[in-house]
């Protein structure tokens, strides 16, 4: 098994099974320094299991995983110094305030004296929790708790951050603030692996995206390459979503579309129709010519932009183990 030295996170043919259930099946990928990799997949796809392995909470049944060149199985203590993990739950304590919470983890990571105080102050500043330092954790909002947990993961200034569903349950403002923090961390050169169900947000912060389903890695690449996947091949027939806008009566346009067997209407407004059409580029242009030569007065014909959600839906089948 080979190890890419430049990679801050690397999984090489990692498999994890629980009895007969294969939670992670022969997964390989890497995350470079300063890179943000989005990890997406349906529930039960194996995202959290993979992240648990990288976080030194579990060991793979077979395969290897490294963080900053150290094996998560053989040198977990060294990996832990370099890695911060934010789980999908908060993991807080009763009868303790924000500062004491961060102080506990700073001490647990071996920070002493002024280094510890400095680390707490920096994290408080970064997560903007300064005003709430003496507030009991139980009194914090969900967004604030999430910030605190991000602060905990950052307290020892790790090179690698693993965030499991960081935006789950947050309101729009908290999400935006979290996104900004993630981008700032990436700009500082930290490597991030983020799993999320909010794909539009991942598209904005991630350099690359990995799609996983039933423990298998289905696709990995930059967001742009995934969005444009297959579009370069003009001969290949693919399903596209098209929108046509017109001045004519809607009923007239619907009649024309209904007469065709090769399109599937999705939605319509007073002067537009969105439909699915499976064809190569050549057939698309022929279709357009036919549409123009009909009595419908068209003023716009466009392919609807593919989103990460569309890619995710087309790659996965929505099955869980």
């Amino acid at each position: 098994m080979s190890q890419t030295v430049e990679a801050m996170i690397q999984l090489d043919r990692v498999t994890r099974s629980f009895g007969d259930t294969l939670a992670v099946d022969d997964i390989s990928f890497h995350v470079g320094a300063g890179e943000v990799l989005g990890f997406i997949g349906p529930n039960g796809a194996g995202k959290t299991t993979s992240m648990r392995i990288l976080s030194t909470l579990d060991t793979p049944t077979s395969g290897e995983a490294w963080v900053d060149g150290f094996s998560v199985v053989d040198d977990p203590d060294r990996v832990r110094r370099r890695m911060g993990w934010m789980p999908d739950g908060f993991g807080t304590y009763p009868n303790i305030n924000c500062e004491e919470y961060l102080d506990f983890f700073a001490r647990s990571y071996g920070l002493r004296g002024k280094n510890r105080l400095r680390a707490i102050r920096n994290v408080m500043g970064f997560t903007q929790l300064n005003q709430l330092s003496k507030k009991p954790i139980s009194g914090l909002s969900k967004g604030m708790k999430q910030r605190l947990c991000l602060g905990r993961a950052l307290i020892h200034n790790p090179k690698v951050l693993i965030l499991d569903e960081p935006a789950a349950g947050l309101d729009p403002r908290a999400r935006i603030e979290l996104r900004e923090m993630i981008l700032e961390l990436a700009n500082e050169g930290k490597s991030l692996l983020i799993s999320s169900h909010i794909l539009s947000e991942l598209a904005e912060v991630c350099d690359r995206v990995a799609i996983i389903e039933k423990g298998k890695l289905l696709a990995i690449g930059s967001v742009d390459s995934l969005l444009n996947k297959g579009s370069e091949d003009s001969q290949e027939e693919k399903l596209v979503q098209l929108e046509v806008k017109f001045f004519s009566e809607l009923s007239e346009a619907v009649r024309w579309f209904d007469a065709r067997n090769d399109v599937a209407l999705i939605s319509s407004t007073e002067n537009s129709i969105v439909f699915n059409y499976a064809a190569c580029h050549k057939r698309q242009s022929k279709f357009l010519a036919e549409l123009v030569s009909s009595k419908i007065e068209i003023y716009e014909f466009s392919e609807k932009q593919t989103s990460l959600e569309d890619v995710f839906l087309s790659v996965t089948r929505g099955e869980v183990q």
Partner: protein, 573 residues
């Protein structure tokens, strides 16, 4: 300008009324700044739990209640007790002290760890740089702090009773030692339970059972207090001293074993979870031998010592052997780095490393050590020392065994070896077949359950054999079935072996040796695992902090965990 100076300035501008408060804040802040670096020497868990405890209602209420009860009992005692005032007051104080020590502290220790599992926070602690040992000792330390706080309420009152009539310093000391020792043991047992039963549903049941058990422990404590009241512990004879030391050794070493066990339970799967446990087991056996030597020195007429030693060690290593046979034989690379590399190391130290085969051999080696210990004492008595003549003339008996009993003793020892080898052999085979279906962590427990079922079924078969032979032929086969059926080796008279038909004797010995050799041969496969080199990057990273002085791989750090480092100064960081 520092925050403190700013605060002072602000208050100065706001007027003189707040001067005293500001000055107090400033002094507290100065004290805080002075004490903060000192806190670096303590476990982070200890500090967190202390902070939580101070704010928790449970602690505050228990503490206040204890204060009130102590004050009330002192007043009532002085008002009502006319004779033996000191003893009466002390009895009451011990009863009051017993509740937090026997119930509150152990249960809060249990809940403290169980809550980490319930809330999932154990995952967050596990991925810090703290060792599992530090986590558990932190939890244990916070329980000890509570213990000290509760004791601090009672200590002046208990000391005061000594000045009154009717109570000896000995009774006070014994009472305090047993209450503190008992509380520590129960706390460790609570931690062990929390580490063993991690599922939330199972945890509820365990909480209930444990709290009932603690209630019973408190009841026992009250009974003990009344015994103290009757003056039972005013003096200690040899016999009581031996019982007390035996009890202390067994409870103390069991507490250490449980502590090591809970540390192993929360360790990372690729960590070496076995060595510390084996060291504790060995320590327990050594303390046991040591206690017997003390027994022999003080009570030389004590009979049946060899049988008792064989019985206890046999049962002990049967239990521990089952647990060790369930270990995975596939060593992680992390553990293989610390495998011994020299021939001597591979022969002796490998027994302490994880693995089913090594565990089997470790158990057997300790049983054989017990045999050698007994044989040494017998030879010493019969051939090297005239002790036996003295005791024989005085008591009409030998200390250990007569020369005529020695062959029987050897056969008996061989029988125990054979029996253990056979059940361990089956056990290891079973676990090897089942290991694919279960997580390696469950191995010891599954192995123990299978072993218990195996011993039970062998006992039933032996019982049937016994009934068959004994009823029809009236031959002396009873010893054979008795051994396995009731599993009471000590009931066997060593002389019985010499009465056996020689053919049977020879057949038994031959097959016993063959089983033993086969079991040992199969176990030695584990010794074929060779050490692997530590990656250069790991060595480089380790270099500035300390030098590896030991010749074997990752050495002591990998076995016992890295030693806690002293807080670094800022200029070093």
């Amino acid at each position: 300008m520092t925050e403190q100076k700013l605060a002072i300035e602000k208050i100065r501008l706001s007027g003189g009324a707040a001067d005293s408060a500001a000055s107090l804040d400033f002094e507290v802040s100065k004290l805080d700044n002075f004490l903060d670096p000192l806190s670096d020497w303590f476990s982070s868990i200890l500090i967190k739990e202390a902070r939580q405890a101070v704010k928790s209602r449970q602690f505050v209420w228990t503490y206040v209640l204890q204060l009130v009860l102590v004050a009330a009992w002192t007043a009532i005692g002085f008002a009502t007790l006319t004779s033996q005032l000191g003893t009466g007051l002390l009895l009451g104080y011990f009863v009051i002290l017993g509740f937090p020590l026997a119930v509150i502290i152990p249960f809060s220790g249990y809940r403290s760890l169980a809550r980490e599992f319930d809330d999932g926070t154990i995952r967050l602690i596990s991925i810090t740089t703290m060792k599992p040992r530090q986590i558990i000792l932190g939890k244990f330390g916070s329980a000890l702090i509570q213990l000290v706080l509760y004791l601090s309420v009672l200590a002046p009152c208990i000391s005061f009773t000594y000045l009154l009539e009717g109570i000896s310093i000995w009774a006070i000391m014994v009472g305090l030692l047993i209450s503190i020792g008992g509380s520590i043991f129960l706390t460790i047992f609570g931690l062990f339970l929390a580490g063993s039963f991690r599922s939330r549903n199972l945890g509820v049941g365990v909480s209930v059972v444990f709290s009932i058990a603690l209630g019973f422990a408190y009841f026992l404590w009250i009974v003990f207090c009344f015994e103290t009241y009757d003056g039972m512990f005013r003096g200690f004879g040899n016999e009581k001293y031996l019982i007390a030391t035996g009890f202390t050794f067994s409870v103390g070493s069991t507490a250490l074993l449980l502590l090591a066990s809970v540390v192993a339970q929360i360790s990372f799967p690729s960590d070496n979870r076995s060595t510390l446990l084996r060291v504790m087991m060995l320590l327990q056996q050594m303390l046991f031998f040591g206690w017997f030597c003390q027994l022999l020195c003080q009570e030389p007429f004590f009979r049946d010592v060899p049988k008792v030693i064989l019985m206890i060690t046999g049962h002990y290593w049967l239990l521990m052997g089952f647990l060790m046979c369930g270990e995975s034989s596939n060593l992680s690379r992390r553990v293989r780095r610390s495998l011994p590399r020299t021939l001597a190391g591979r022969i002796f130290l490998s027994l302490f490393m994880p693995g089913s085969g090594r565990g089997f051999l470790f158990a057997m080696a300790n049983v054989w050590a017990a045999f050698l210990f007994v044989m040494f004492l017998v030879v010493f008595e019969n051939f090297l020392f005239d002790w036996s003549n003295q005791t024989r003339s005085r008591f009409g008996t030998n200390i250990f065994a007569s020369e005529a009993e020695i062959p029987g003793m050897i056969i008996s020892s061989l029988f125990v070896s054979w029996y253990l080898s056979l059940v361990f052999l089956f056990n290891r085979y079973f676990w090897r077949r089942m290991s694919q279906k279960f997580e390696p962590g469950y191995g010891p427990v599954i192995s123990l359950f299978f072993g218990a079922a195996l011993v039970a079924s062998v006992s039933v078969v032996s019982f049937l054999i016994e009934e068959f032979f004994y009823a029809r032929w009236h031959l002396s086969f009873r010893w054979l079935s008795d051994l396995a059926w009731s599993f009471n080796w000590y009931t066997v008279s060593f002389e019985d072996f010499t009465k056996l038909p020689s053919v049977f004797f020879i057949v038994f010995v031959i097959q016993a040796v063959m089983v033993l050799v086969l079991a040992v041969f199969l176990a030695t496969r584990d010794f074929l695992e060779v050490a692997v080199e530590t990656p250069e990057r790991v060595l480089i990273e380790r270099q500035p902090t300390k030098t590896n002085r030991l010749p074997v791989g990752e050495s002591i750090d990998e076995i016992f965990g890295e030693l806690p480092s002293a807080p670094r100064r800022d200029d070093e960081a």
